[in-house]
């Protein structure tokens, strides 16, 4: 349903004509996020600059029964920031200011469009940083991070975004400007702050976020251990966790990725390694020295081929560069893949890795693995060639089997990317009718008319046609996982 010229002029009245994108070529820029095979351009894109403008747009859309899709930087991996049924996309890129830096209270209040890394850059010289570090952090926005409850390598020790959000301003689907939480903790009443993080724009639009700032740790130690077999590396991960050590990050890179990264990024990972563990410790110097010694011993006990310790920041950056640009490196091997984000209990890692190999063999597909091993969050990338007849179907089949295998072990559909349009169908695999019903009713409390990001997060939304499934799956090179 195309929106009327009258609607457009009302939108322009709110944000000005320079605040609306209405041309076909302009709208096409917004037709997808990083999950580019879900395409759906909005009828209009609005670029508000104030909370009041956001609230006015929501009230207008509510009155006219028009769908709203919030969008940050568009780096999401779940088809969350595209418009399957058209409507108005609200882009937060013009609301990108730091509103308040408060070091005595260890927090900052920012607008949603602020780029994640900018906050750490603005605070680091004062000795602070913002902990959530999705691989996209140089381009993704804090509003997007909070909406998807983004993770990152360092959330093993520090938790995902929700653990760092103290307060929010949200324009609800009903058009209210809701302010919850803030610098003082434990506000009386329900923890709306916690419940609104990770809502993927289905309850409203975040217009300001108060986040916790952490101290830059006293010391950081980064180690890289290579193994001939991924099973050994997986067992080493379990042993590190069992030893009572919680590293800041504990990342696994498999053989396929090691090869791709070495060729693509030139990170110099050990050649011929069947798996590499990237381990980072941070904290008081005496603590991480003792723990690093223990970890080296554990890796040796698990037949590590080689253990490297970064001697300076440059070496550390190089070890991380490979990990952070892993997906892009694999893009050189295959331009088409399906990306998983499922989680298993960490004790089941060796088992699920055997299963991944078996599934790949069964469907004659390469499955490359780079993931957050410390918390059991997998990122298998199922590579396929869409020019080979039937290969996409096999990839879908492998994806489905892999997801079910993770859930059968007591896992979860998504550890940090979110549900969006991509994984809404799989929600019933993890939740029962009553559980999904509770979520649907919670959604209705904040968005009574169902205008907020329809089709996302929950399955079978009326706005999302059953069987809505795109023909081809493709993530662009340079995707961050």
């Amino acid at each position: 349903m195309a929106l009327s010229p009258a609607f457009l002029s009302e939108l322009e009245r709110i944000v000005g004509s320079s605040g609306v994108v209405a041309t076909p070529e302009g709208r096409m820029v917004y037709e997808a996020d990083m999950h580019t095979f879900y395409k759906g351009a909005p009828d209009f894109v609005a670029l508000p600059e104030t909370t009041r403008e956001v609230a006015e747009i929501v009230r207008l859309c509510r009155r006219e029964h028009v769908a709203i899709v919030p969008r940050g930087s568009g780096t999401g991996l779940i088809g969350g920031a595209m418009a399957p049924v058209g409507g108005v996309m609200i882009s937060m890129t013009r609301m990108n200011n730091i509103l308040d830096l408060d070091f005595p209270n260890r927090c900052a209040t920012v607008q949603p469009g602020l780029i994640n890394l900018w906050l750490s850059q603005a605070t680091r010289e004062h000795g602070y940083y913002f902990a959530p570090d999705p691989s996209s952090q140089m381009v993704s926005s804090i509003g997007g991070n909070a909406s998807t409850n983004a993770g990152g390598p360092h959330c093993l020790k520090y938790g995902i975004t929700v653990n760092h959000v103290l307060g929010l301003e949200l324009v609800t689907g009903a058009g209210e400007i809701l302010r919850v939480g803030g610098k003082a903790q434990d506000p009386p009443g329900y923890d709306l702050t916690g419940a609104l993080v990770g809502a993927e724009g289905t309850l409203g639009l975040l217009t300001a976020i108060t986040v916790r700032l952490l101290h830059v740790p006293a010391a950081v130690k980064t180690l890289l251990a290579s193994f001939s077999a991924i099973e050994d590396a997986s067992e080493a991960v379990s042993a590190i966790v069992a030893a009572g050590i919680v590293p800041a990050a504990l990342e696994m890179i498999d053989e396929t990725f090691v090869k791709a990264i070495n060729e693509g990024v030139g990170a110099g990972y050990p050649k011929g390694a069947g798996a590499v563990l990237l381990i980072e410790l941070d904290g008081p110097t005496a603590e991480i020295e003792a723990q690093a010694g223990r970890i080296v011993q554990i890796c040796r006990d698990h037949a590590a081929l080689e253990i490297r310790v970064a001697r300076d920041e440059a070496e550390r950056a190089l070890l991380w560069k490979g990990r952070k640009e892993a997906a892009g490196a694999v893009g050189r091997m295959s331009s088409t893949w399906i990306l998983q984000d499922a989680v298993v209990p960490r004790s089941r890692l060796p088992e699920i890795m055997r299963e991944v190999v078996a599934i790949g063999a069964r469907h004659r597909l390469v499955i490359a693995n780079v993931f957050h091993a410390g918390d059991g969050n997998l990122h298998p990338m199922i590579l396929y060639d869409d020019r080979v007849p039937g290969e996409l179907d096999r990839a879908h089949q492998a994806n489905d089997e892999l997801l079910r295998a993770c859930l059968a072990m007591g896992g979860s559909v998504t550890g940090e990317h979110g549900v969006g349009l991509d994984k809404a169908w799989s929600m019933p695999l993890q939740f029962g009718d009553a559980d999904l019903g509770f979520m649907a009713r919670f959604r209705r409390v904040l968005d009574p008319d169902g205008i907020m990001n329809p089709g996302k997060l929950l399955p079978s939304h009326p706005a999302c046609g059953e069987g809505f499934r795109p023909a081809a799956s493709k993530l662009p090179a340079g995707t961050w996982v």
């Binding site: 006293a218 966790v241 008081p284 940090e416 939740f431």
Partner: protein
């Protein structure tokens, strides 16, 4: 249904020995429930709630009863639902550092089991080892260790609860990292059982540090203590606990003095030693004297906060000392001496007051004016425990600003339209 009929129906669900009519010791703010019912399974909880829904009976869930003073005096309660029989540790895989337990499991029982594997649940509500996991989560209770490990909202990964209509519901996950769907556990933590009855919790665990050191740093003035706290917060030290105590609290704890900061460090042996030395250096530059604390000190904080009235203040970190001073002064005008324990790294302070003054005076002279000024800077004051007379004189929660309150009311109406669960005890009369 006759007056007797619900009792028979309840007995049919849980067995006659688990239904007590006109029970003693189950009153909430003087409101006596008609029955105390102790379900032995999730299914029984569900059937009790279905019965309650069809018979228009109200239900007040409870664990150990420690937090029964929290909240406003309830509307009439028909059923006190005692969850202590749901005391199973359902699944514990040490390598996952996750445990799934039933709501009635006591913290000390769970702690012993986890301790065998060098792990712990880092929730330490004051005087709370006999408290149940479900009760601690539902009442949003926490203690000093939240500074390092977070509170219930950070530690609850998944939750099974029974809605007011008896629907057994699951939210969250069984793994340490998941963003699948809405974060339903957040809605249940601190909701005082008003949205559903928590029956099972999947919890994030932590390793017990290899070594722990605790120290008390005594200061001659509040300002000196405050500058030490600020210095610790601005440093790269990573304490587990950072607790401020006033003179009255120190006297109760058996460490007489003006004011002091108690700190614990948990790490490897080497780091406990170096961080302890660094703390002592910071303290001495603010004129503080260090002494080593026995580990039992932390458990004694519960008795330091024993009192007929307990107030909980929440403010910005840097303002906590100021508000503590304001509270002390307001109390002094009534010749009252509050015993105060502040979680200096979280901006949360509790004060125990033994007050014999008329409740209306306390409400007018202490609670209301402090609360108003705190609210103006985004803080809050909750009366966590008080005689019912004081609760009649002042809302224990304070007012929740709009439109947040409207959203909370819509939530309650959506999930408990008849007001079956804990009616009247929560914020805004919910």
């Amino acid at each position: 249904m006759s007056a007797r009929a619900p009792a028979d129906a309840l007995a049919a669900i849980v067995g006659r020995e688990h239904v007590v009519a006109a029970p003693s010791g189950a009153a909430v703010d003087g409101v006596e429930p008609r029955w105390r019912v102790s379900p032995g399974s999730v299914d029984e909880v569900s059937r009790i709630l279905k019965l309650a829904a069809s018979e228009h009976l109200s239900v007040a869930p409870r664990g150990s009863g420690s937090a029964v003073d929290l909240g406003m005096p309830p509307a009439p309660i028909d059923i006190a639902m005692d969850l202590c029989r749901l005391d199973g540790i359902l699944e514990y895989v040490p390598a996952d550092m996750v445990a799934t337990v039933q709501a009635g499991v006591r913290l000390d029982v769970l702690g012993r089991e986890l301790g065998k594997h060098g792990q712990m649940l880092a929730l330490d509500p004051y005087g709370g080892l006999s408290r149940t996991v479900g009760g601690v989560l539902a009442s949003g209770a926490s203690g000093p260790r939240r500074f390092r490990y977070g509170s219930g909202r950070d530690l609850l990964l998944g939750v099974r609860f029974v809605q007011a209509d008896g629907t057994v519901t699951w939210g969250g996950s069984r793994v340490v990292k998941s963003v699948t769907g809405y974060d339903v556990p957040k809605l249940l933590v601190g909701s005082l059982g008003t949205l559903g009855v928590i029956v099972e919790a999947t919890l994030r665990l932590h390793p017990v540090p290899t070594a722990t050191g605790s120290w008390l740093f005594a200061f001659g003035s509040g300002e000196a203590a405050g500058s030490f706290v600020a210095a610790v917060l601005a440093s790269t030290l990573e304490p587990e606990r950072l607790v401020w105590l006033n003179g009255a609290a120190l006297a109760r704890a058996g460490h007489p003095g003006e004011t002091a900061i108690a700190v614990s460090i948990g790490s490897v042996v080497e780091a406990v030693a170096t961080q302890g030395a660094a703390l002592a250096a910071l303290a001495s530059s603010s004129g503080g004297r260090a002494s080593v604390l026995a580990d039992g000190f932390w458990a004694s904080l519960g008795s330091v906060l024993a009192g007929r009235i307990v107030l909980k203040l929440s403010s910005e970190l840097g303002r906590l000392a100021f508000w503590a001073g304001e509270l002390e002064q307001a109390c002094a005008r009534r010749s009252l001496v509050p015993s105060m324990v502040g979680e200096a790294g979280n901006g949360v302070l509790r004060a125990a007051v033994e007050a014999n003054a008329p409740p209306a005076d306390l409400a007018r002279e202490i609670v209301s004016p402090l609360r108003e000024r705190l609210a103006a800077e985004g803080g809050s004051l909750v009366v966590e425990r008080a005689p019912v007379e004081l609760k009649r004189a002042v809302d224990v929660w304070g007012s929740v600003p709009e439109p947040a309150l409207a959203v909370m009311k819509r939530l309650k109406t959506e999930f408990d339209p008849r007001g079956t669960l804990n009616p009247g005890r929560f914020v805004g009369g919910l």
